[in-house]
Symmetry: C2
Subunit: 571 residues, 2 copies
Amino acid sequence: MSEKIFYPEYSKHYPLLVKNCLKKPMMLFPNETAMVYRNDEGQYLRFTWREWLERTCKLAHAMKTLGVKEGDRIATMALNHHWHMENIYASICSGAISHPINMRLSLDHMTYTINHAEDKIIFFDADSLLTLEALYDRIKDKVELFVYMSDKPGLPETSIKPLYNYEELIKDEPSTYDWPDLDEDTHAVLYYTTGTTGLPKGVLYTNRQVYLQCIFFLLRRGAALRMPGDPPPPDDWIPMMNVPLFHIHAWGAPFYYVFEGVKIVFPGKFTAESFCELVHNEKVTQTSLVPTMLAMLVEYEDIGKWDLSSLIQVTIGGGALPLGLKLKAEKLFPTMNATSGYGMTETMAGCVGNILTREMREWPKEKVDQVLVKTGFPYIPGVEARVVDEDGNDVPRDNETIGEIVVRGHWIMEQYYKDPEKTAAVWRDGWLHTGDVAKMDELGYMTIADRITDVIRSGSEMVPTVLLENLTSNAEFVLEAAYVGVPDDKWGETPLALVRKTPDSSPSEEDILTFLQKEGVDTGKITRWMLPVYVAFVKDILKTSVGKYDKIAIRKQLDEFMDVAKRVRKT
Amino acid sequence: MSEKIFYPEYSKHYPLLVKNCLKKPMMLFPNETAMVYRNDEGQYLRFTWREWLERTCKLAHAMKTLGVKEGDRIATMALNHHWHMENIYASICSGAISHPINMRLSLDHMTYTINHAEDKIIFFDADSLLTLEALYDRIKDKVELFVYMSDKPGLPETSIKPLYNYEELIKDEPSTYDWPDLDEDTHAVLYYTTGTTGLPKGVLYTNRQVYLQCIFFLLRRGAALRMPGDPPPPDDWIPMMNVPLFHIHAWGAPFYYVFEGVKIVFPGKFTAESFCELVHNEKVTQTSLVPTMLAMLVEYEDIGKWDLSSLIQVTIGGGALPLGLKLKAEKLFPTMNATSGYGMTETMAGCVGNILTREMREWPKEKVDQVLVKTGFPYIPGVEARVVDEDGNDVPRDNETIGEIVVRGHWIMEQYYKDPEKTAAVWRDGWLHTGDVAKMDELGYMTIADRITDVIRSGSEMVPTVLLENLTSNAEFVLEAAYVGVPDDKWGETPLALVRKTPDSSPSEEDILTFLQKEGVDTGKITRWMLPVYVAFVKDILKTSVGKYDKIAIRKQLDEFMDVAKRVRKT
């Protein structure tokens, strides 16, 4: 543990530490409800801030007893609940590193991240037991011990060892802990990328970075532009945490919710029904969802029996939000204001957001929607984002020229864990190079076009596949669409559209082209050469663990798709 | 100027710099009104953000031409207006230090601060010309040059030299400036204490400290508790900057208002009429006032002819707010929510604020008012405050035991400029010792009792003079009251109350004692031994330059006051 920090350090460098998030609830709201967890049997567990903080302190003592030292990686393999939150705080605030294992990775990749992180302990819950058992043999020599988190006494029948019961472990420990005054550059969290283009990479952030992300997130919310018709803010925000904590700590949620001392609602496994029940019972006001969760709600038949009127803010992230789904979801939640944004593991949370300007309040709703469906404006306080050409110069604001997104700021990753070469490869000229490409419109709004590696190169031009995918999915008869390049002697590549039709429709391949001509080319959103040359109707489109189209896997099966594809235009 | 900062600095230490405040208005609101200044002839000057930023860049170039280098002190002697704002940003963002000369100091002390700061340039306006001339001979050998800020062409007739006209100086300079990527520990501002107990002390803050104060201030506003009956937030905040910039940069206002890109209204010289006219014309929503300004508004007869309904937030600081004045002012501004807090030059802005807990929403208004009139709760995100005894232990929460306030946090002064001894004297054990004493109630709310040096020591006890002063001024027939100690053979000191009566009342000295017995002793707010032994009715009570009672000056005239004082009780 670090020594106490005194003057002059405490005067000019009063440290930016995650432990500071604990102060407000501890001082102002100790007896108010901190967390509500609904387990899979539908039982509710409730904790006040005092109770939750005492459990967190007990856990920190227990970890110390187990030999955890500053810098050790403490992993979790778990859904969202109070145990997970206790673990995050006990780890970071005592100087260890919290590593939430991404449960959406393949078993191979999950095993790789655990061994690469050299996790000392894995905390897991009942939902993760089978997964852990499936990879246990490949990690058992590296991980020192395992802790089972459950509201049921005892341990599950398993060969995993040494295995402790969480509640047994903490029950006799002291309920206060003197959190050390760490250096603000002490590492706090370790996340792994999804590894769509190779092995997952470990992304390290410091206490300073995590804490500043939390502060700036809250600042941004407080300074959000009020649009006409916006519902007034509620007396108290009551968030439900749906985005998994194992997914970049739900984009920083454990930090800013605790900082504010608001009641946090945990749904256990996400189902449309448990979501609605919790909104209804706990008067949830805000939540973040990935598009697939939103789609589940849109398709849920019994939604009418729940009172969801308290829910006035839904943020969508983790993937592009097609305009079609957005419009359907807005009908469901009349006060909802779905927005999009851009972020990646290397940016912890959003670094481009859907910011509106004051003058847009005068605009008709349709025109504002056209702005909101773009990826966003490259201004979020605390981070900078640009779209640059190969020489590092800003691309023109013509809504057409494509360049790479580069970022820097308070919460852009410090380094790839144990990989200085890859770190140096992305951190160039003072900017982190994201590998994502985008274009800028005349107002300065950015639209993500693609991963650089996924780009379709037709002639000397890059085809903006994400734009085409969103546009195509706006057709009434389209459920979703993905674009990949097909080798072509003349153009290098030409675009192939993989399209899932809606259940009760039967468009032809040419209908797709006609739709794109009318809604895309004629409206100036795309140019003619971007139109698909081939269209293939498919039953499913392969996706990565985070719900993005898996272009690598699709390309591997290209021959199969071309067998059912129809050529819809000449080139 | 510093070199550009690259990886790894830009990854883990992306710098916390004041220049970042310029980004939002520059990117999102370039064509919206940035600042409105009403000059003393009642003319309005308006600037968009683009215009104001271009002027700021031109000024930075002009300063460079004049030889300003990183670390140079650039002083202002001016009211609040766009020139002053341009100067603050051009100085800090180019690496120089902004020193707003406190115009409320005595001429001797002002002279001292200019010579102590070794200011390279003084920027002054028409309102400050006479003051500058009065001390010119004593600073002319140290200050290199002077710049006159005015909307009138030419220069005033004066012996001050070399003297430049601001508008002439900037007019041919380039309108963009490549602000350097400074180290975040680069000094940004230099403020001087009011020197009530000796010479003024220079208080230095770094870019990191100023920027973090700005961020945390905005976060705090966004996360403020909504009370029943609170007006809904306006679509846009429109602040009027009344607290002088020469007073600790109006508690940080230039930073957080620019960061948000809101329209800032400058009243020139404060009068009740110009204040009301500007609120009426510009639809001002919020302002900060010192108690004397609030008192001027309460006494303004023509206030009924103005529409002040847009003004929904008034913050009072810079001195204790007597409950009497608070209640009168709340009648005037029905939606006003006057609060108090605690801060000093060494803490830049507030470090204790009137935070309410959620459960207080259920309390009756009178009970909430009793909380709001206390100094505040020692939790403001970003700073910590405690009340400690001589051994550094927290005083008990008995609302009685008095201890010293100690603070630390992101914007607690870095050092006393050129005075390591005094710096070390206040920065002890990791805490800055404020020299102010306070007590804590059972809920953890703090009430300032006194300066340690102003305390009345009666027997072995300390008499809480600020509490007595506030309590006394609650009497209908009292305008204001100050307490000092009178030497006493038996008790060491006994309390003397100096009282100003309201114009149309004629209480006796005993009425004061009766009131305090009933409202103070009988209600348990004070104990009997704290009651004044002597009461003296006076025409005026001496105050310092920032409106606090000048206990040193009062003590020097103690004999005169004792001549008119009446002994009201035995001891």
